[in-house]
Structure formats: C-alpha cells, structure tokens
Subunit: 347 residues, 2 copies
Amino acid sequence: MNTKKISLKDIAVKAGVSTALVSYVLNGKEKESRVGQEIAKKIKEIASELNYQPNHLAKSLRSGKTHTIGLVIADISNPFFANIARVVEDEAKKSGYTVIIGSSDEKAEKAWDLLNVLINRQVDGFIIVSSEHSESHIRHLKERNIPFVLLDRHFPDLQTDFVATNNYKASYDAGVHLVEGGYEHIGLIAYKSDMYHMRERIRGYRQALKDHHFDLNPNWLKEVRFENIEKEVKIAIDEMISSKDKVDSIIFATYGLAINGLKYINELKLKVPSDLAIVSFGQAEVFDLYYCPITYLKQPLEMLGKTSVELLLEKLKNPDVGMKQILMEAKLIVRDSSMARSLHKIS
Amino acid sequence: MNTKKISLKDIAVKAGVSTALVSYVLNGKEKESRVGQEIAKKIKEIASELNYQPNHLAKSLRSGKTHTIGLVIADISNPFFANIARVVEDEAKKSGYTVIIGSSDEKAEKAWDLLNVLINRQVDGFIIVSSEHSESHIRHLKERNIPFVLLDRHFPDLQTDFVATNNYKASYDAGVHLVEGGYEHIGLIAYKSDMYHMRERIRGYRQALKDHHFDLNPNWLKEVRFENIEKEVKIAIDEMISSKDKVDSIIFATYGLAINGLKYINELKLKVPSDLAIVSFGQAEVFDLYYCPITYLKQPLEMLGKTSVELLLEKLKNPDVGMKQILMEAKLIVRDSSMARSLHKIS
DNA sequence: TTTTTTTGTTTAATCGATTAAACTTACATT
DNA sequence: AATGTAAGTTTAATCGATTAAACAAAAAAA
C-alpha cells in the first residue's frame, strides 16, 4: 500500500528537474519565470498523474498565511450560533478559507484559552462573538495587531470593526408592537449582564414604554443569570404574574430565555396570548411549531455571517483598510402569540 | 507596537545558546539531553518573560502530526449534528486536539471535497457522518490508510471502525410502543435512501408490526426525498390519512422529517394524539414545547461523540489497534404524543 | 600520564514549499 | 571576434522547530 504523500520533490525527481521549476509551474508562474514549454507540460502531466496535493503546512509556514479563520462563539449547540457558523463556513469556503469553530460557553476565560490555541495554530484572523468581561482580551488582540471582527456583540468603549444587530431598535419595535396591540403591562426577561447588546435590548424596551407614557414598573423587568437560567426564569415569571400589577405580556431577550420561559408557561397552563402574550428574540423551529406561533425578532443571520467574513477577508488582504462598524436591522415577525388584545377569544 | 512573534531562535540568541538547547528544555527533555541546570533555568525564564508560544505549523511540519481532527457532518445548523459537534469539540480539546468541522449537506461530492481540503491541511484523522453514495470515498480513505471513524452511519459491506445507534432496535421499540398503546394503523415516514441507518429504521418498524401480526400496508410506509422534503412530507401525510385504512399514528424517522410533518399536522388542525399519535427520532427543544409533548427516541449523543473521539485518538496513537464497531442503544422517551388510545379524552 | 567516560553544547539535516539570486547556454548585436 | 542580452534552469536561503550526530571540555579510570 503506497501511502506516502507526493511532494514537490517527487515530481522534480521524476521530471529530472529542480523543485523550483515544479513550484513555478504548479503555481502558474511559468511565464514570469520563463519555464520551457515542454518541461512545463511534462511537469503538469506528472503532477496530475501522481495526483499531487500540496502540503498546506509547508505553504503556510513559508508564507505566514494559513487561510484559516477562527470563529469564537458561545455555543455551537445553540441554534443561533449554529446557523451563524454555517453561514460563516460557507462564505469562507468560497474564498478558499477554512473555519475553526470554538465554543466559549459565554466564559471569558474559555474564550481567551481558545483564542490562544488558535493564535498558536496561526489562524489568519478571527470572527468573535465576545463574552462578558472579555473586553481586555479584545483590546489585547487589537494591540497585537491580530485581525478580527466582532460579530453580534461589541464594546462601545472599544474602537473595533464589528457587525451586529441594532438591538435597541429591535427591542423598541417589540415594545411598541405590544403597546399597539393593547397590552399595558409589558414585561421583559433579559440576562443579567453588562454586555452592550443586552443593555441595548433593555434600553429599547424601556424607551418604547416611556414613549407611550407607561410607567416603568421595576417588577416587569427581570434580569436572570445565565448560569442559573432555568430556576431564575421560573422565579422571574412567578414574580411577574403574581403581583397585583401582573404582566399581560413578556418579551424574551434571547432564544434561550424564551425556551425556558415557554416551558414554564406550559407548566403553569397559562394560555398564549390570552393569559400572556409573547415576543422573543431569535428564530427557530420551536416558534413555528408552538401551538400559538410565537412573534419573534428575526435577526439577519445570513447577512451578519456573510458580512463579518467579508470584512475580515478585506482586512486580511489590506490591513490598513479603515475600520468598519455595521449595524443591521432585525425584523419583527408577527404571529399569533402577540395578537391584539381586542382579537382574543373570550373564554 | 512589537507585533513580531517570538521564535525559539529569539530565546536562543537572548540566552546565548543554540536553538537545540532551547528546544530540549522547553520540551522537558533536559534530563535525557543533559542540559546544564543554570542554563535550563535561564532558558525557562527567558521563555516565559518573552511569553514564547511555539509555532504549531513548524512543529506539525516536522512531526507530521497536526493534532487536528476533521469532523464531517451533514449540516452544522441541524441540532443533532450541532450537539454532536459540541461533544466532539470538548472531548478532543481534553486531549489537546482541535476540530475542524465541515458540512456536506448530505451530498457525497461536497463531502469528498471537504475530505480533500482537510487532508491537504494534514488533519491527523477524521470523524465522519457519511452521506449516501460516499461508500467509494470511504473505501478510498481506507486504502490510503487515513485514520477515520464513522459516526452515526456506516456501511455494512465495508469493514471500518464505527460508532452508531442501533437503529433497528430503536425503530422496533417505537413500533412496539405504539402497538402496545392500542394503535393499529401505524405509519412511518422515512427518507428515500439506501443508507444503512435508514434501511434499519425501516426494517425495525416492519419487524415490530410483523411480530404483532399486523399486515404491512404499503400505504403506511412513505419514503420522501431529502431534496424536496417539505412538499413530499405533505403528500405523504395526505396519502396516509386519506385512504380508507388511514393511519392513527406516525413514526418520523428523523428530526427534520418530524419538524416538517408537525408543521403540516398543525396546518391540518389534526390533534395529537387523538387524531394522530406521534413518535420521532431525534431530540430537541421543540419536542418539549409542543402543546402535546412528543415521544422520541433519544440517541446517546454524548456517548456517540465521546466514543468516536476516543476510538480515533486510540487509532492515532496506535495505528495497528484492532477495528472497533460499536452500537449503542437509543432510549424511547415516552410523552403524551403517543398516549395509549384508551386514555384519549373523548371529544 | 594517557585513555576512557561523562557531561554539556553545537552543528546540521530535516519536514515541504517558495523565491531571489546565481549560473549556463544559446542567440543577437556591433 | 568580442560583447551583450535573453532564455532556461539550478542553487541555496528561508519559514520555525526537532533531533541524531558531532564535538569539546572536564572528570574518572587506567
């Protein structure tokens, strides 16, 4: 079983020339390097006959470019990130880039470890969905001149390239939508986090209520910890529906919060939307299949992924290109879960 | 901004020794190579002072090992594969391996391209969820002595390592469960495919009916094409419920089929389980959140992923280790969607 | 004192590909 | 005939790390 890989040298020997010629020919530099016609032809023939495949490691070591990009996300088993990852993979492949994906579990330390592993593997650049408390790490990348683009989340105090959703606007839209549907006690369940994207979602919600002259009942805004999501979502909902000013609708600030929330709402046998209207961030099959299809904010996943790759590749090609900061709009997909109150069936 | 990477040579120069010594010390070979005590200490200090990070490319080129494994799956945005990918990533990381994931979209040609890209990038081995018509490619890998483990799907005619679910048994269990629940017209919607795992799911279903002396009504077994899943699932369901021997229950052979099927069942306003009982392969949040929680076959994702990594790494360490073929059992998680007929509420 | 052994360190080849520079011929120009 | 130019090819350094082999100096054995 001939298992040895074919190298440039093997071809060179077989053709009776030096490896230099082979390299020139196989890289299409026959013209500039004035390689003889017949010899070029011969080399090509031998190469395809032996099914030569260049060794990327050697190429990369020499060139300093691996044509690999690192994608750091929170968790590949979360559909939001899985979808993004797929888009990034496809888009990168179009330009001959390979993607290495790593999950950080929203932990700054894990993310940092990941970045370092990937840096040692000489990835050319990063697309990063950053975690809380990782601002200093991002700053560090910047100082080291390692090319990266932040995706979905960014740090307002840090001048970096990024591609993200306009979370303020999205959340504002959700709030206004519920107000216009006649809901008056609108709650928001978000993560307890200093991350800008989360603060923006909260800010949008607040502004929507303010603009419609609603009081900001502090009991309607719940922030739960990622690490203890299951329990704390339950507590949040319990508190929201048990006070005298109980909510008639809830906005979930992420897909994960919605899943947990809906499970509990099912347990409580609350009916959507008559007992509780729902709007959620994220998109997923669950929202279609729920007995009462869920109104959600559809983020422009394809565009987010695609654009982040484009930005990064542009930066890799020309490191001095200006900084780009791109905000995209989410789209509110209205379904029955936030049906206008006037349309509720009287039970 | 000093952006240059630190190399062995930089340390050597600073310490006033050759690169060989530095290499020995930093690889813990000071003893075997009898490096002087003080010089060893000095080298270590300088290395950590300069925050030296070895260049993996160079290491790999020299050693012929990249500590990278390629994971070829159908689609990372499918939760089944996303979950597997996560397990594989974590398990590989424990042993210092990095995973490169690629999606084949169930297309043999895409999978083949992927394999070749990854081979050129010198991955040490593969974990592969193979596609239809890719048997020849797998055979080719085998002939080239490229280490791999098949995951979730395998080819009975091909002697290879694999880790998979006992699909026959899983499907059989699902069938028996419905029979015992008093269902008499049990349908199966599967993919039209020659893949062994799919044939096994069909065989299990058939055997379950046979063993309980049911006729195999050909109208109850539908095979739909992956490329046209949405339409053909609808047609399949239409046909199954419109004949005079209409089905009272359906087994979906994959998660994707179930999603499409349930959407249509909702459209038709059929009630689960009174109009139609449901059992599905796969696991996902949807099944919990559906108004009538769905009975499903829970595949041992963690074990599948973990074991496939273990097998592969074992093979990488010792290429002459014997072939391993591992079948794991799926577990039927019973929920309301397949409630015994005797318990249905009379409407 | 001479020889052998031990200890400590350097040299140089290697992995596979790239590429500037050097080197041969052959051909053209004066 | 002498010189210049173009065409075609090879040499050798390089990327960064590893490691067998060579080497030198000091210590031990004869």
